[in-house]
Symmetry: C2
Subunit: 173 residues, 2 copies
Amino acid sequence: MRRIAFLLVSLAAMIGVAASMAPASGNADEEAAPWVKEKPAGYRDWKWVSSAHEAGKLNSLGAVLGNDVAIKAYRAGTIPFPDGTIIAALHYTHAPSAENDKIFGQPQSFVPGSPTNVQFMVKDSKKYAATGGWGFGHFNADGKTVDAAFMKPCFPCHQQNKTHDLVFTTYAP
Amino acid sequence: MRRIAFLLVSLAAMIGVAASMAPASGNADEEAAPWVKEKPAGYRDWKWVSSAHEAGKLNSLGAVLGNDVAIKAYRAGTIPFPDGTIIAALHYTHAPSAENDKIFGQPQSFVPGSPTNVQFMVKDSKKYAATGGWGFGHFNADGKTVDAAFMKPCFPCHQQNKTHDLVFTTYAP
């Protein structure tokens, strides 16, 4: 749906009908969003913070990983997280494992299926001062980020968890 | 149930009624089991292989981590896994997150609850030659291992997955 909308807007821009409506680098929406547009390097090598299962429409199974700054803060219980913290959430479909179920003798085993997206929270108290010091990133399975409108709900939602510095995931011991 | 059985056996041993029934270091059962009795050091710092959700009676949410030998083999698709591979499975209860559900506005979010156990597979093709080169470890939340009888089903069950060198968990990209 978002992709279709984006294509339509792009098409309009190309034919010159409504060029001013197309999302363009540097417009007001984009500047306002605490949007991380580059995927942080090496995140697949980071340490494990926790796992997460979202049922319902999200139907997601994944893991949250943290860079060394994040892990140190998590283990010490440091709130707010210090600048340099990066937290990555790797999401996949919540997929039944036919192979495991066969061995267990009943349907019970769920594993990460297709990758859906990777999300990031990046702490930089100066750069993202307006949003509690956090920048937010979202990259679909194709590695591409989304648009400013998609990123806008990140902060208002995370802001509801002020006691844990806007971070939902806690550390699994 | 297992704990109750173990206590009963221990009690019997103490009062000298059935000392020969108590699990004792070096008996035949114990020698036969490919049983890893020491928790490998530093496993909580290892890289993430995948997450796992077991529904039903297990009601478990957790993660599988691998040491460097394991991760290298996983990423290269090396089968069989080389000697030195250690794979850790960290298990917790599959617990609803009231905090997340409140923000989502519906019950959908599950996170690791109380730790239940940590299991290990250790590859040593000489030491564990009789069991496909794998030793198996199980440590309850209190850090203590179990008994030989508890460990006996590990190999016969894992043996059913010969195509992936007895390892159920695959690597999440």
